[in-house]
């Protein structure tokens, strides 16, 4: 329970925190949180407030918010920004290392997922079709804007899971790929600069 007691408050617990592509080992010892290596030490100033905590790091107070989004995943909010974070304690961390190969994201081709809830306006590819890097795949409308999702590499379409007129939810898998000549994936228009002078609507 948030703010509630821990199983054994006297025992220090070690966590591995994956955030923004890095993994940081962190030790929690009661109201003291230590970042290994960095030499940083945070003190819990105020433990109340449900989803919020106040930490002091080098005398500077920080208000942080945590929303749990899954078994080991959290959204941490700090100074206006939201970070998606994975947190594993020592036990889970070891299990994980045995099962997969360290901390790298699951290998293989990434399917195209809906970046937001919306309506499928058009599907431009068929199953089995070969697609080139940058090729338009389908158009999803959301928040009154059209968003063209494109291939991020060259590959072959394994499955198209949606049809025109269908509503999709954020994260829904829309198209799956298989290797053709080299890795394939999807490029969904994110991280492109806004003024890209082409026909792609921003999401």
């Amino acid at each position: 329970m948030i703010g509630g007691g821990r199983a054994d408050p006297t025992k220090s617990v070690r966590f591995h925190v994956a955030v923004e592509g890095r993994v940081l080992p962190v030790q929690v010892d009661g109201d003291t949180v230590r970042l290994e290596g960095a030499g940083d030490e945070a003190r819990v100033l105020d433990g109340g407030g449900g989803r919020s905590r106040i930490l002091s790091l080098g005398g500077r107070p920080h208000r942080v918010f945590g929303l749990r989004t899954g078994e080991t995943s959290w959204e941490i909010h700090h100074r206006g920004r939201t970070f998606r974070v994975e947190v594993a304690d020592e036990r889970r961390w070891r299990m994980r290392r045995v099962r997969s190969d360290g901390m790298s994201p699951a290998a293989g081709l990434e399917p195209v997922r809906a970046p937001m809830p919306g309506l499928v306006l058009r599907v431009d590819v068929e199953e089995g079709q070969r697609v080139e890097d940058g090729q338009g795949l389908l158009i999803v409308e959301a928040m009154k804007m059209e968003n063209e999702l494109r291939a991020r590499a060259t590959g072959r379409v394994r499955r198209v899971l949606v049809a025109v007129g269908e509503s999709v939810r954020r994260g829904d898998v829309l198209i799956e790929f298989e290797q053709d000549a080299g890795h394939s994936g999807a490029r969904d228009g994110r991280n492109r600069s806004p003024g890209d002078s082409d026909s792609e609507a921003a999401p």
Partner: protein
């Protein structure tokens, strides 16, 4: 003064109008879709009526239902806000035909300016400089190619019925033209119910500077200075300010006169905005928005004039009690639009539930929002959550105050543009006032997802702490006190994080 006003809108602007009504003793009548039951604008109003399901086509765009509510509630006037039906002449006409006052210009003014092609012709006739472009809408790809060659690439596709960046596309060369035309047409159809698109020369890195005008039914027409809104992403403004960093009294007088002339050419009544592109001392007419702008608050802060109050007064037949000489700009105001978009993911819009909301406060800060803790941000409407406005005696103090206010603004549950705005306020080019509509492209560091080590340390410490305090299985403990899970199903569906240890 009007006895009552039906507000045909939602979100922050509906609340803004309700506030003005309350302060003037005007009965406010809100409408809401099923998705907006209990929204802040509903709650603040004197009465509120449900008008249909969440999709705007079935609620906020239903003229018949709006008029039905107006009749039922005895409304005397209708305020359309911005977006939705605000620039639809057919709506203004229907409101008038129902014997009600439409708070905005005459239907024929809306029609004249709403047809961007016709507006360009009118403005040219009125002697206002206009950007070179196609003489009319382009119907097919071939015509488009012909026109584009004549104008010269890059060209800008624009919805003839448009505004606000919808149905707009920049096309670099002939290759992308056909697809862009189709997409722009569909978007224009969806947004404005009219697929017509025309071409304009795409100016390289101009500033967007616009002039607020205000007119009454007695022939008085003044301008309230300029706003610079150059910081845009895909023609959606993100940061606005008044005055413009290049706004000398001379330029203000010239642009102000051009704007008043443009407004007079269409017999303008009420609040409106004449938009210009400014480049190297010259300015060209872009379009006129025949409604209240999102960014009207910066003008209010530097002039001390409440624009919505004067919309209501003018609609009630009052004459403006001030002349152009009485209008004086004092200090500097900046607005940041706060949207539920992730600036580090290409401004990807996000849906979700606002878990924590705290507005900034203290001197010189104004928050105009439409959310509170518990608000669900759905996929049906604009991602604008609210507007943060800061005033200071000069630009630099306004910028510093905005930076302070952005630190205080707390929205947890959906990603927002707050960290982007924080970077803008600290950015040297912005501090210098060195702006253009390519500002975001020219400064990719504003939207780069980098995190400094100190920040990462805080986030990691926080994550470990939360994980330590909440060891049980998910979602049993993360649930709300009222039994609902901490995230809606939609939101949960969006978690597509690589599974780490």
């Amino acid at each position: 003064m009007l006895e009552s006003v039906l507000i045909a809108n939602r979100g922050e602007i509906a609340l803004r109008i309700v506030r003005a009504c309350r302060e003037l003793g005007v009965r406010s009548i809100a409408v809401y879709s099923e998705a907006d039951r209990g929204a802040p604008h509903v709650l603040a109003a004197d009465e509120a009526h449900e008008i249909g399901p969440a999709p705007s086509a079935e609620s906020y765009l239903r003229i018949d239902r709006l008029l039905e509510v107006a009749a039922r509630s005895g409304a005397r006037a209708v305020h359309p806000g911005y977006g939705f039906l605000s620039e639809r002449a057919v709506f203004a006409r229907a409101v008038r035909d129902a014997g009600l006052v439409f708070i905005g210009p005459k239907p024929r003014t809306i029609a004249a300016m709403g047809d961007k092609v016709r507006a360009r012709r009118l403005m040219r006739a009125a002697g206002t400089p206009v950007i070179p472009g196609s003489p009319g809408p382009v119907r097919d790809p071939d015509e488009a190619r012909r026109q584009a060659r004549e104008i010269g690439f890059p060209v800008l596709l624009k919805a003839a019925a448009g505004g606000g960046g919808k149905g707009m596309r920049v096309v670099e060369g002939p290759d992308g033209l056909e697809r862009a035309l189709a997409a722009a047409g569909r978007e224009a159809q969806a947004a404005f119910g009219d697929p017509a698109v025309y071409l304009e020369r795409y100016l390289d890195a101009p500033r967007h500077i616009e002039v607020q005008v205000l007119g009454d039914e007695h022939g008085n027409l003044v301008h309230l200075g300029e706003r610079e809104c150059s910081i845009q992403r895909r023609h959606q403004k993100l940061v606005e300010e008044s005055p413009s960093p290049v706004g000398t009294p001379g330029l203000r007088a010239r642009m102000g006169e051009a704007a008043v002339r443009a407004a007079r050419a269409v017999d303008y009544v009420g609040a409106g905005t004449v938009e210009f592109l400014y480049l190297d001392g010259d300015f060209h007419f872009l379009e006129m928005n025949t409604r209240l702008q999102v960014e009207h608050a910066v003008t209010e802060l530097v002039t001390g004039i409440d624009l919505v109050e004067w919309q209501l007064r003018v609609a009630g037949g009052e004459a403006l009690p001030f002349t152009q000489e009485d209008v004086r700009l004092g200090g500097h105001a900046i607005e940041c639009r706060i949207t539920s978009e992730d600036p580090f993911q290409g401004f990807l819009p996000a849906t979700g539930r606002v878990e924590v909301f705290e507005a900034p406060a203290g001197g010189g800060v104004r928050w105009d929002g439409g959310i509170r803790a518990g608000s669900e941000i759905g996929p049906h409407y604009d991602p604008l959550l609210g507007k943060l406005v800061a005033w200071g005696p000069d630009r630099d103090s306004a910028v510093r105050r905005m930076a302070r206010a952005l630190e205080e603004l707390t929205i947890v549950g959906v990603p927002t543009g707050v960290p982007f705005h924080q970077r803008v306020m600290r950015h040297a080019a912005f501090r210098r006032g060195d702006l253009s509509i390519r500002f975001i492209e020219d400064h990719p560091e504003l939207t780069a997802g980098d995190v400094d080590a100190k920040e990462l340390a805080v986030v990691a410490a926080a994550a470990a702490l939360f994980a330590d305090r909440e060891r049980g299985p998910y979602p049993a403990r993360g649930a709300h006190a009222d039994g609902r899970p901490a995230f809606s199903a939609w939101r949960r569906a969006g978690v597509k994080w690589a599974v780490l240890p």
